[in-house]
Amino acid sequence: MNLVLLQNWLDNASFAILFMTMLLYWTGVAFPRMSYLPALGTAGMAIANLCIATLLGARWLEAGYFPISNLYESLFFLTWGITAVHLIAENNTRSRLVGVVTTPVAMGISAFAALTLPNDMQSAAPLVPALKSNWLMMHVSVMMISYAALMVGSLLAIAFLVVTRGQKVALQGSSVGTGGYRNNGYVLHKAGEVTPTEINLDNSVAAFQSNGSSTAVIEAVKTIQTPNPTHSEPLSPQRLSLADTLDNISYRVIGLGFPLLTIGIIAGAVWANEAWGSYWSWDPKETWALITWLVFAAYLHARITRGWQGRRPAILAATGFVVVWVCYLGVNLLGKGLHSYGWFF
């Protein structure tokens, strides 16, 4: 089979599938009763993921090196990473909201790579001597997956900011273990009796959860009702709100991207030291990777700082979305170097 033809077919196909998937997720939010929509969305995401994996695999066969050396390949690798992180995050949290924010970005990147990039930038080109090393695979793939995870995490933080606009929020989840305790003012109530405190916790969120089933575990609650409903003041689990859920998924996904970014930067530093004897030279790409690292390190520290909790860390994470993009593509505008993918203006 003609590998080049297969690639051309696959890149357009992955764009089309991601576009459909985006529509599925968005319709799913607009019509929460159609519960098969998110399932279809997940399937679409998985198919897109496999399409891109095949595309990159075909390119690997064709060019003979790990396919993340030019802009086209790295954009598709990034899209693959975003779909993969999406599937992990969705599987861990059973939240249909993940797809609402990840699909537009994945779709946008694949559209740019498949439709906008000029043809000569899409074709495979031989590697320059400096990149001929096994470190290329190690360094670049880890960096790209970390970008994907950080982007998804930042997008979820933006979603959190949208959901909680105009509210005060206490964060759940950090290295020191904030959260996990009952809200102050939460009154343990007798079963079958609805207390006003529970309702005004978060009206919009409660509405979302009841009709949207934002997490699949809601069904489980019914089955764990205490065997003796007439008993006074039974303890029952206090569920996370939609905002808490979003915030925690965002934190966990960034928590996954941050170690990957650290490992990627270190792999790059070790490679640079092995290849030309300096593990840090303040080249623009290196510096922006460090800036990204610093911004997300600040985010992780802000979560455990008294007085900075609530929406502020999420704002930092949302800023991180821009920083990751500057680090990934913006640096190309600043100058040429080993890290440059080339550009078309």
Partner: protein
């Protein structure tokens, strides 16, 4: 008051100031966040403004009228050191402050957190204690023993009478400590390397020997690292080209020569594959054309040096002048672009008169000029960095630490009292996943209870029958 006691008073008050005023500020998380973001912001300036250019460059690109953003003229730029941001005193001061904050935090906050492991397992003996957990439940008619099999799969379970404590993912608590300590190690390694390391660059023609002399950058204690009693010979330098004419790889065949002229080491280096000898590393980084070997009519082989032309960054060209008359009254200029391609011949008026390839001959001014060989020179970067072992171990620990830090530390408490089973749990990071896990646990517990009750009812029924 004696001078001594005044001195010790001053010392004491300084120490008090350090402990009571300075350390709390230094270990304040908000300072750490501000420092992280400040380093990020100032680093950006160095990626936007071209670094390490000449003064005329900044004069041309950052004129005084109109100044960029109304203030950033070349004078302001140079006086702030924005042409070398990462080596300015204020950037280094920021890094030192960051290092101090990191060190203070590691010893005052992170390492003391290890005490957490020294304490005995906390069992909850009162049902009220379960009320503080968001995730807690009470279950009737379920013995504590039913809970254990579900927990044992993933948790470490401790029991004390009717109380149970289970935990999982303790490494998640150690992770951040490892991260902070390893970063100190990296900083120490970087400082040690800057003080004791050196970097040199040499451009050596194929076939020549050299000692490391052209030191570009060296720390104050770098002298012992610079090789004195051995030298290196470039046996051969060549370039492999791809079929389309692009460069595939640069190679230098190097020998390490001791004082007696004996070869002690031999290696072919290329980009990504350096030569190491006694802590000094030779990297393939650059190349050039050193000379040309020619033959005029039936002359012996003559070697003429080639000089690099100033092209203002428009490609790399080397040239030499070849006399074609014994009194040097006539000759041609020869220009080369690389080691294998076409060589261009120009006459004294600057007209292109012919082209020739290495190994071929051409007739100029009535003389047969044969190009025997274009002699390449290899550009080597030479470096010693005694800080590397520290930096690399720091890297290793840092990677380990960040991975450990992803793990969420989950804890579950249970108590059997007055015919009820109380269960509570919390985790420090993965709240969403833990909530699901906790609810699944309760569900499993309920199902097991139903099955057991069903079984016991059947058993009774069987007995009755």
């Amino acid at each position: 008051m004696s001078l001594d006691s005044a001195k010790s008073n001053l010392w004491l008050s300084l120490r008090r100031f350090f402990r009571r005023e300075f350390l709390p500020v230094l270990t304040d998380l908000r300072l750490a966040i501000v420092l992280l973001l400040a380093i990020a912001v100032f680093s950006i300036s160095g990626t936007v403004i071209e670094q390490g250019q000449s003064v005329p460059f900044y004069q041309a690109n950052y004129p005084e009228e109109p100044a960029l953003f109304g203030f950033l003229s070349w004078k302001v730029l140079l006086s702030l050191g924005l042409d070398h941001v990462y080596r300015t005193w204020w950037f280094l001061a920021l890094l030192i402050l960051f290092g101090s904050s990191l060190t203070a935090c590691t010893f005052r906050r992170q390492l003391p957190a290890l005490k957490w492991f020294a304490r005995t397992w906390k069992f909850y003996k009162q049902p009220q204690q379960f009320r503080k957990f968001a995730l807690s439940a009470e279950v009737d008619r379920t013995p504590l023993d039913n809970l254990v099999p579900f927990l044992e799969k993933r948790y470490q379970v401790f029991r004390e009478g009717d109380a149970l404590y289970a935990s999982r993912g303790l490494v998640g608590r150690v992770g951040p400590i490892v991260v902070h300590a390893s970063m100190i190690l990296i900083l120490v390694g970087a400082i040690w390397g800057a003080l004791t390391g050196f970097m040199a660059q040499e451009m050596v023609a194929s076939g020549e020997s050299f000692k490391v002399q052209n030191i570009v950058d060296a720390g104050p204690w770098a002298t012992p690292q610079i090789p004195q009693d051995w030298s290196v010979r470039v046996n051969r330098f060549w370039i492999d080209y791809t079929p389309t004419g692009g460069i595939d790889q640069f190679y230098s065949d190097l020998s390490v020569i001791d004082n007696q002229g004996q070869e002690v080491k031999h290696k072919k280096i290329f980009v990504n594959e350096p030569l190491r000898h006694r802590g000094v590393t030779f990297y393939q980084t650059d190349w050039g054309i050193a000379a040309i070997r020619i033959r005029l009519n039936k002359s012996p082989i003559l070697q003429l040096p080639m000089a690099r032309l100033n092209t203002n960054g428009q490609g790399r060209l080397w040239a030499t002048w070849i006399p074609t008359k014994p009194d040097l009254s006539a000759g041609v200029s020869l220009v080369a672009r690389d080691l294998q391609g076409m060589l261009l011949l120009y006459d004294t008026t600057g007209q292109l008169i012919n082209t020739v390839r290495p190994g071929m001959a051409v007739e100029v001014n009535g003389v047969k000029l044969k190009i025997e060989e274009v002699v390449g020179s290899t550009g080597l970067q030479i470096k010693a960095d005694p800080g590397i072992p520290f930096v690399y171990s720091g890297f290793g620990l840092l990677m380990l630490g960040v991975i450990m830090s992803y793990v969420s530390h989950s804890q579950v408490w249970a108590l059997q009292k007055d015919g009820k089973l109380y269960i509570g749990g919390k985790t420090n990071r993965a709240h969403v996943a833990f909530e699901r896990e906790f609810l699944t646990l309760l569900e499993q517990l309920g199902q097991k209870q139903i099955i057991e009750e069903h079984n016991s009812v059947q058993a009774i029924a069987n007995q009755d029958a």
